[in-house]
């Protein structure tokens, strides 16, 4: 089996002082653990692991309509949480992520903290664009999600740790609901893709589309589904060495989008 013997140090700091003391002593190939799944993806090559479980929040709270979900909340816990309707798509994405065993360990913030920015939950997060509570050496700061997106890739500032996702009540008020559809194990190259739709209160909708062959695409305040379908049809062709053709992918996307817009699960 895959052997992981690169790691020379493992730390689980109890407080932020200890955390930043560790981060102040730069060790090449350091990985932050927020859950554990990244141990497989990244940790096997990391020489130092820093486990954030004592540092980052893992609770879910709703206060006056504002929702705070700790970055250390497991995906399973997020899927089971009682959340307002606009967060339904996020809950659905959590409920369909990987396997039950992985959902019990993976955290909502894990992929972002580990800079492994492809996950079923990213589509809903991109659309919901929460504020992010960050832990810095000088205390907690809040930054908009979109500020940390650079060319559709999520990047945390140096020496900061993601603590929680904050969904302000005022922002959530713009949606009346949402849904997420994951199409997986469909052929060899068509899958996997995720579609997230958030229904706006003004009748328009927001769409996030994730697929490994086109990364992430978002459309906001769409009022004309036909226009959107035309845009999807104009997406750049996929990379070579894939069996599915661009035309097949477009047809599939169009069909799934139609179904999702019709209101049900695709």
């Amino acid at each position: 089996m895959l052997t992981r013997h690169a790691t020379r140090e493992y730390h689980a700091p109890e407080n932020t002082s200890a955390l930043f003391a560790l981060l102040a002593a730069p060790v090449p190939n350091t990985a932050l653990l927020a859950g554990g799944i990244s141990l497989h993806w990244r940790g096997c090559r990391a020489s130092r692991l820093i486990d954030l479980r004592h540092i980052i929040s893992s609770s879910v709270s709703v206060t006056d309509g504002t929702v705070a979900i700790g970055a250390g909340t497991t995906v399973a816990a997020a899927a089971a949480a009682h959340l307002p309707a606009p967060l339904t798509a996020l809950r659905q994405a959590c409920a369909r992520l990987a396997s039950p065993q992985i959902r019990n360990v993976a955290t909502l913030g894990g992929n972002l903290i580990s800079h492994f920015d492809f996950s079923d939950t990213l589509g809903p997060l991109y659309l919901l664009a929460p504020n992010l509570r960050l832990i810095t050496r000088d205390g907690a700061v809040t930054r908009p999600f979109t500020e940390l997106l650079v060319k559709d890739r999520f990047t945390l500032p140096a020496n900061t740790v993601l603590d929680a996702f904050i969904f302000p009540a005022a922002r959530l008020a713009q949606w009346r609901g949402g849904r997420h559809h994951k199409e997986s194990r469909l052929g060899r190259d068509l899958a996997t893709l995720g579609l997230t739709i958030l229904d706006r209160t003004d009748g328009a909708f927001d769409l996030a589309l994730t697929a490994y062959w086109l990364q992430m695409r978002c459309w906001h305040a769409v009022t004309n589904a036909a226009d959107l379908q035309a845009q999807l049809a104009a997406l750049p062709p996929p990379k070579s060495d894939q069996r599915a053709t661009a035309d097949q992918r477009r047809r599939l996307l169009a069909a799934l989008l139609d179904r999702l817009l019709a209101g049900g699960a695709a």
Binding site: T3, R8, D51, Q101, I102, N104, V105, R185, Q248, R259
Partner: protein
């Protein structure tokens, strides 16, 4: 550097030293916790599931220190937890949930997590809870039933008394008896070679080729050899140059001698080119990084055209392997003809060219072997193999040793499906152990399994059928091209069987089949459930449906008109002998009843309403036959002996691959002797202990080894009766063994007392009988398969809603285990039909090398199963039995293809029937 940490495991605190890199599964295995399996390279199989604070997690993805301060529960903890949870393994045993058992504890742990989350879950909750675990043997159905049984028992819907063992049964043939090793498998006690650690053991890791075709110009191992902890580095320069085949088959060995322990010429991407033996895996891996290989690259040939039709290079130049035409990479070719095709006028003709895919076995336990010298200088090999005696032969040849200096045994096997009919790892660990005087273990990773373990041979089948207007098949013309990959291996025999099968199912007066086996720069093909039949049946049974449409007949009607019948003779026994000897006469064939029953179970002719506007539904069918071993090749010997306490010892060289063969052989023994099943003790497959057996393949164990058991036990029974009649002056007529008693008229004597008296006799009374069985027959089992599918015409997703398998396998010795074989084969075949394929980039690199890219069916893809047996008494089989293991495979792909056509008018000519191909076919 290791720190000591305290973990709370199964209710107790344990303080252990843990290096920073250690995962939780590594720690638990080191500390002796059982039942944890690793079948993937991380995160995909669920075999290492434990509970952390009552929730299932994958212990391979967690650093051991992440579990500090949390409650860890393992299978031992489940058994000891409370009076309810300890029933969980028992329920899975009772339901037949464990076949090879390698995955079973992972499922039990996932189910234990559900127990803590939901007192009485609905079926969909249950399925979701188990969805993170892979099983390759069972088809998941019996696992679900085991967990359902558990919740039914703890919620009072089922009486606990139903969990009582049936092992005290004295007439067990035909009974639904749980496996004799069921407790061990479900409680994590079974020992697999992959779990074993020998004292002073060294570990081996392999360096695999990064190119697909090249001569090795230079290989520098000097830096690796100097690394502290490295004990040996092997390459082609310091290993024997002996040529042998890695394909394990009976005598006469039919495969080309084209392999050596380590190659000087890379013939496929991922082929091992060097091996490092070191004190630990970290050192071995570090040493691999220090080896440099200078390749002189050669043309890469991945297609029939490149390798054969316009050959770019000889993969095995003349003189290196006994190929038919090495210059054109032709391993072998043969032709079967009878009558004269194309001579009959006015036939309704259908034709097509079909291609099939390269499927991997994905037995959950990878290939593994441990070799060590004993005090006599013998090489002892513990291997996860289906063929211990063939391993002995091949290792002895490779190392130039007499057979007597090689001993091979197998513990429990974590699946095989033909993949472990290949001697893949044993020669190199034996080579290393012979030099080092220390045990050496090699366990392949899942990636290595995908890179160089064997696969099903991809075929291109060009087929034409000609029918009279009344629907009688008159002409069958086929051209079969088999891609055997980089080595000949099983290529010739797989193609031979395919040729015979395509000519067998529907006897036609005029037949011509031309078959060629071609070598390419792909992963070698090997033995795989069905052994060539699934490839040709995809073509034949798909085309039969097209013919039925053209003839205006019901597909079932056309098959009923043409299929082989009892009294017919199989057209040929082997193609390797000229003139071809005729095949055996079929003694039992219940295909008409199978078809009729299948039609009833699927609702043939009654359309099912579509569940959504974009979904079309359809039903399809296919039929097939298989073999029960190989006539005139399979050889099974069995030794049965009476112990002094009246118990029975059964020694068999056959291997229980997970099918339950040990239990079936014990059932036959108990039935024949009339003693309780609990009095039969079976020991299998150790070349130094058990008598010779060809190995477990070709579905041969029940039919051949079972017959040997029946005959040996009958001899022992007669000996006991004869001795007892004389000793106790009892009437010989009517004497019987019932329960644990010898019965003669009104007189009964406990068998233990009789046995003790036999051993006390002053004369040497023989209590050991060895019987060898070899037969001129291998009575074919038959099957009719019906499927009901949903086709999403917008996404191309094909969902098999229901699969009906009605089989004539003669007498079913154990219906519980036989159903498990049918269900498991059905789902494995569903994967072959719809998702599974290893493909190659243009430079020959393998594209699918993990369980995320290569998609075996999960529990979500499991259809509703309906398995039924029509049971004629097959006179050539033990208690009328034929084989069960493979027959359910070959029909699934054509049945699905035919159902898709019925649903939406799309016909596939290529496997797998992926959405991409659906769209392409839809457009065309």
């Amino acid at each position: 550097m290791s720190d000591r940490i305290t973990l709370h495991i199964d209710g107790s605190d344990r303080t252990v030293a843990v290096p920073p890199a250690m995962t939780l599964v590594q720690l638990l295995k080191r500390e002796g916790y059982r039942g944890l399996r690793q079948a993937c390279d991380g995160g995909s199989c669920g075999g290492c599931t434990v509970l952390l604070d009552q929730r299932p997690v994958l212990s391979c993805l967690l650093n051991a220190r992440q579990s500090v301060g949390r409650k860890i529960l393992t299978i031992e903890g489940v058994i000891a937890y409370n009076d309810e949870l300890r029933l969980l393994p028992l329920c899975l045993k009772k339901a037949g949930s464990a076949q090879c058992g390698f995955c079973t504890c992972g499922f039990i742990m996932a189910a234990a997590g559900l127990y803590f989350a939901a007192r009485d879950p609905q079926r969909d909750e249950l399925v979701t809870a188990l969805s993170g675990n892979l099983c390759r043997c069972t088809g998941y159905e019996k696992i679900i039933r085991g967990v359902e049984l558990f919740f039914a028992v703890i919620n009072g819907r089922t009486d606990r008394a139903q969990l009582a063992s049936a092992h005290d049964c004295t007439a067990p043939v035909g009974e639904r008896i749980e496996k004799l090793d069921g407790d061990g498998l479900t409680r994590g006690e079974a020992a697999y070679a992959s779990d074993m650690v020998m004292p002073r053991q060294l570990v081996m890791r392999l360096l695999t080729a990064t190119v697909a075709h090249a001569r090795i110009r230079a290989i520098d191992i000097s830096a690796a050899e100097k690394l502290p902890g490295v004990r040996l580095v092997l390459t082609h320069r310091n290993t024997p140059d002996t040529r042998f085949t890695t394909a394990a088959q009976g005598y006469p060995e039919p495969s080309p001698y084209d392999a050596r322990i380590l190659t000087d010429t890379v013939r496929f991407h991922g082929e091992p080119v060097a091996a490092v033996v070191a004190e630990d895996l970290a050192t071995a891996d570090a040493a691999l990084q220090l080896i440099t290989v200078d390749y002189d690259e050669l043309p890469v040939m991945l297609t029939f055209a490149d390798a054969y039709e316009q050959t770019k290079a000889a993969i095995h130049p003349a003189g290196l392997a006994n190929f038919a035409d090495p210059a054109h990479n032709l391993v072998c070719e043969f032709q079967y003809t009878q009558g004269a095709v194309g001579q009959t006028p006015d036939l309704v003709r259908v034709s097509g060219t079909f291609t099939t895919s390269k499927q991997q076995h994905v037995h959950l336990e990878p290939h593994v072997a441990i070799a060590a010298k004993d005090e006599y200088g013998r090489i002892n090999i513990i291997s996860s193999t289906q063929v211990p005696f063939d391993v002995r032969r091949i290792v002895a040849r490779a190392l130039g040793l007499p057979f007597s200096m090689v001993r091979v045994s197998k513990p429990r096997l974590g699946g095989g499906f033909g993949g472990k009919q290949e001697v893949l790892v044993e020669t190199i660990v034996a080579c290393a152990a012979a030099r080092l005087d220390r045990p050496v273990k090699l366990l392949l990773s899942r990636r290595e399994e995908f890179l160089f373990a064997r696969t099903r041979h991809p075929f291109r089948v060009t087929l034409e059928l000609g029918f009279t207007r009344a629907g009688k098949l008159t002409d069958l013309t086929a051209g079969i091209l088999s891609d055997t990959g980089a080595y000949g291996g099983h290529g010739s025999t797989v193609a031979e069987l395919a040729t015979m099968r395509i000519a067998s199912l529907y006897p036609a007066p005029n037949v011509r089949v031309d078959t060629k086996v071609i070598c390419t720069n792909k992963t070698p093909g090997g033995a795989f459930r069905g052994y060539g039949e699934p490839q040709v049946m995809f073509a034949l049974e798909s085309l039969m449906d097209e013919a039925a449409a053209q003839l205006g007949m019901d597909p079932a009607e056309l098959r009923l008109l043409n299929h082989i019948r009892a009294g017919d003779r199989l057209p040929v026994e082997t193609l390797f002998v000229q003139p071809h000897p005729p095949g055996e006469v079929i003694t039992t064939c219940e295909l008409p009843r199978c078809i009729a029953r299948g039609q009833e179970r699927i609702g043939w002719g009654t359309p099912r309403p579509a569940p959504a506007p974009h979904v079309r539904t359809g039903k399809g069918m296919a039929i097939s036959l298989q073999g029960s071993g190989i006539a005139n090749i399979t050889r099974s010997s069995v030794t049965v002996s009476l112990n002094e306490d009246g118990s029975i010892q059964l020694l068999s060289g056959a291997v229980d691959v997970g099918t339950g063969a040990d239990t079936v052989l014990a059932q036959i023994a108990a039935q024949t002797l009339g003693v309780p099943l609990t009095r039969i003790h079976i020991i299998t497959a150790d070349t130094a202990v058990t008598p010779y057996d060809s190995g477990s393949y070709a579905s041969n164990t029940t039919y051949f080894a079972g017959h040997a058991v029946q005959q040996a036990c009958a001899r022992l029974r007669e000996q006991i009766f004869t001795w007892a009649a004389a000793k106790f002056q009892l009437p010989r007529d009517g004497m019987a063994l019932r329960g644990n008693m010898l019965v003669a008229g009104d007189i009964t004597k406990p068998l233990p007392e009789v046995a003790t008296a036999i051993f006390a006799d002053l004369r040497p009374v023989d209590t050991v009988f060895c019987i060898t069985v070899k037969k001129e027959t291998a009575a074919p089992p038959f099957i009719a398969t019906f499927v009901d599918v949903d086709v999403d015409i917008q996404t191309g997703r094909i969902t098999v809603v229901k699969a009906v398998q009605v089989a004539d396998c003669g007498t079913i010795i154990n219906p519980l285990l036989a159903e498990g074989q049918m269900e498991g084969a059905t789902l494995q075949a569903l994967g072959y039909a719809l998702t599974e394929e290893i493909s190659y980039a243009a430079d020959g690199r393998v594209r699918e090398s993990d369980l995320l890219a290569y998609r075996v069916p999960t529990i979500f893809e499991k259809p509703e199963f309906a398995v039924e047996f029509i049971q004629p008494h097959e006179p050539t089989g033990p208690y009328g039995a034929k084989a069960v293991g493979e027959v359910a495979f070959a029909t699934m792909a054509p049945a699905i293809n035919n159902a898709v056509f019925a649903a939406c008018g799309v016909r596939f000519r290529d496997l797998p029937m992926s959405p991409e191909r659906f769209f392409a076919a839809q457009r065309s």
